[in-house]
Symmetry: C2
Subunit: 262 residues, 2 copies
């Protein structure tokens, strides 16, 4: 067969991962949508990896085990983080860049600065570092049995568009979906990352030996009323999409600080 023709009829290769673990309902919901668009391979953590941010595993060895979880989908369970899963996918399992990386659907939203802590989004950012079109999806519902039907509709629309159009260089998408029924969803809105922060608290307890331990808890404080922000969109019943990059340079501050004598 003509090589070019062969290429055009080949289905896209889609790598799916998440941070809630390979057995979560969220990743099943995403795999079922991804299968409509191409050949799917799943490499996802063998345990919850929420809050792992952009962590990689370098102090102990990584394990990767084939598992039979999704119909007709090659699937691996990985002992590492979501970012490890992407690296293992590209460099060890596929030995090539997939056409698309999908991460999620996360049980819990990753709007605003939560993108920094999120394993789901860090997997997508790692994909962007490899210049592979990558999308993270998160539903504002921590329930393990959450209803992902609105999220699936949003994912379907965005995946279709990204496969057709591609994404700007070194940019992934942070998609968040409110906890609504499909018919209640107001639409999908392009946004910027809201400036909002956790007001942290530690729940101090004592173990059976009387020694203290701590659970990180707190409230997410939304003080912004920026109508362009992802938090505003979500609060008003829209799914939000933030084009997400990884250059942390503060260029405005750089121009100012260059005047310092050091």
């Amino acid at each position: 067969m003509n090589q070019a023709l062969n290429k055009t009829i080949q289905k896209p290769l889609i790598l799916v991962t998440n941070d809630d673990g390979v057995t979560s309902k969220g990743i099943l919901s995403l795999v079922n949508v991804a299968k409509e668009f191409g050949t799917v391979i799943v490499i996802a953590p063998d345990k919850p990896q929420s809050g792992m941010g952009h962590a990689i595993t370098i102090s102990h060895p990584l394990r990767l085990s084939p598992v039979d979880l999704f119909e007709s989908v090659e699937t691996y369970s990985c002992s590492g983080t979501p970012v490890d899963c992407v690296k293992l996918g590209v460099y060890e399992v596929l030995h090539q860049k997939p056409d698309l990386i999908l991460s999620g659907i996360n049980h819990g939203e990753n709007t605003s600065t939560n993108v920094l802590y999120s394993g789901t989004m860090s997997a997508a950012v790692e994909g962007a570092m490899e210049n592979i079109p990558s999308i993270g999806f998160s539903l504002k519902d921590f329930n393990p049995e959450a209803d992902f039907s609105a999220s699936q509709i949003v994912a379907r629309k965005i995946i279709k568009k990204v496969l057709a159009e591609g994404l700007p260089d070194h940019t992934c998408l942070n998609v968040n979906i409110p906890k609504v029924r499909p018919e209640e969803l107001k639409g999908i809105k392009w946004c910027k990352q809201a400036e909002a922060f956790w007001d942290d608290r530690f729940d101090k307890r004592f173990d059976q030996f009387g020694r203290p331990y701590y659970w990180l808890t707190g409230d997410f404080e939304c003080t912004t009323d920026d109508i362009e922000s992802d938090l505003y969109a979500m609060k008003n019943g829209f799914a939000s999409i933030v084009p997400t990059q990884f250059d942390l340079t503060n260029y405005k501050a750089l121009a100012l600080l260059k005047k310092w004598k050091l």
Copy 2:
């Protein structure tokens, strides 16, 4: 004593952390510089936490133990990540924001996209999220017995300036120091984050039961010749400083992508 006068003669409160662990030579080198400027408190990981990025500990409890490591410095060893150390410091130990957060001195550089993986820098970014002036220091030398004397000179200059001038809102500094003797250092240069990436590889081995495991390894590929970048400064014998922020929105892409019909 007059409250205002008392305030003016109070020494700055400086929280020090790192990702190599509380017993590393790098943190000792930083504590010794920090003590020249104020009252120091150390909260640092009880084990190496390199590559932990912005991870937080939410799936198991955190431990915090007082340890006696540095002369006249209140010090805690923490079971969690560098970001956990900052959160515990602000919300559980100090119950107030310190005047300055210092992270490092890391054994190994954190230029370019390494900022994403770096526990050292994520602690500084967490400080920036709290709007506390924060600086991460990293030396391009992985040796546990590395010579931190050039790094200490750089740290002294920058800490003095930051305590005097403050930093722009929600911005921390990523400082990298080349492996040189103090007299060889060419200077300190304001930079942007270089666009460079890891070419990852996995070293596949087999355990005593014949089961495979993987070590993440690879080469850091610097393809950029951008003379404004941190990698260029370091390659030419300068320490680099990048003003670092955490808004990951790609605003240029946002303007483009808003035209998509979804």
